[in-house]
Symmetry: C2
């Protein structure tokens, strides 16, 4: 039972991501990962160094997928529609699973056992990319004049808002409530007028 790697890496990493996502970094032991994947603890150590390296490995995949999907949702001709789809996507993502899995990056950001700098950096990288995608969308012509604050500022508020939504999901476990709050947020952002108001 050895020689070349015995387990399907794609499949294994997928399951590992799932365990981290549901349980959080700090609360997940190597044994948990071994049990969930059927790969022995020693094999995981051998293949991926330690828990932190393993986490960074799967977090990278997670972040790439998240950014891609978020970008796709934002890529709509109508700004309001784009923002609604964006929030719908984030809400759908965090409420998936039984129990709902929440948001991996937020769980990790607030996990005191995940305060190693490489982990922080990975989260920062993901949020920076999200903010960039949002800024780009809000800078398109169809948003001009509609926004109550400049695109870059708005993007930062919206990204912060998604983090808040994640927390509210944990507390109230009510997706419809989250969607309603998101709609309010969008209305606030798009309350601008094309013509400057008369003085």
């Amino acid at each position: 039972m050895a020689g070349r790697r015995q387990f399907d890496e794609q499949h294994t990493l997928g399951r590992i991501l799932d365990v981290f996502w549901h349980q959080g970094y700090g609360a997940t032991s190597m044994q948990d990962l071994a049990t969930a994947t059927g790969v022995q603890r020693g094999s995981l150590y051998n293949a991926y160094q330690d828990k932190e390296s393993l986490f960074l490995r799967v977090f990278g995949d997670y972040a790439d997928a998240f950014i891609a999907d978020a970008g796709a949702a934002l890529d709509q001709p109508d700004v309001r529609r784009a923002l609604e789809d964006f929030f719908d996507f984030t809400i759908e993502s965090m409420t998936r699973g039984t129990p709902p899995r929440g948001c991996l990056s937020t769980k990790t950001a607030t996990d005191t056992q995940a305060d190693a700098e490489p982990i922080r950096a990975a989260i920062r990288g993901m949020l920076d990319r999200l903010e960039a995608a949002m800024t780009e969308r809000l800078s398109r012509p169809d948003a001009a004049g509609l926004l109550t604050v400049p695109p870059a500022e708005a993007a930062r508020v919206l990204v912060t808002m998604t983090r808040g939504t994640v927390v509210m999901e944990r507390v109230y476990q009510d997706p419809e409530r989250l969607r309603a709050t998101a709609r309010s947020m969008i209305t606030m952002l798009l309350a601008g007028r094309r013509e400057p108001a008369a003085t």
Copy 2:
């Protein structure tokens, strides 16, 4: 060394709150609390049942103080000033300490090891109170006509936003950035006009 309680309860509970705040519920062991307070583990079990009960005990004090201070910040004649003071207070609260302690309720909300229903309920209770205080403030006459969405909706967005701010603090560790984002948020909210815009 026995008979009547040997330790100063106020002082001990204060230290315990501090440990929970910094380390988070799940990452804190009874031994941590014993070490931090100088009270033996057995005495803590004897006096407070278990970790969950102890947490709920100090969380109650925390929530009361938080709501009181938040309410005081909101109690300003000028809405914009009230909201700025409110966000300044929350940001100051989460960045205090070395290292910055963050926000206890948010850390707990996203802690998978703190998913017992009594704990969830306590967090819900605190956020409900915060939302109520915010709604009340935004319903006062001086805010009328300024808001881009109704008071209750705005309150829910703002409370969600404070949760997001907490997460961003963990990630970027930059208080000034948080304040700037808060100001953008306030601008978006107060972009309403007293007179309905001419068609």
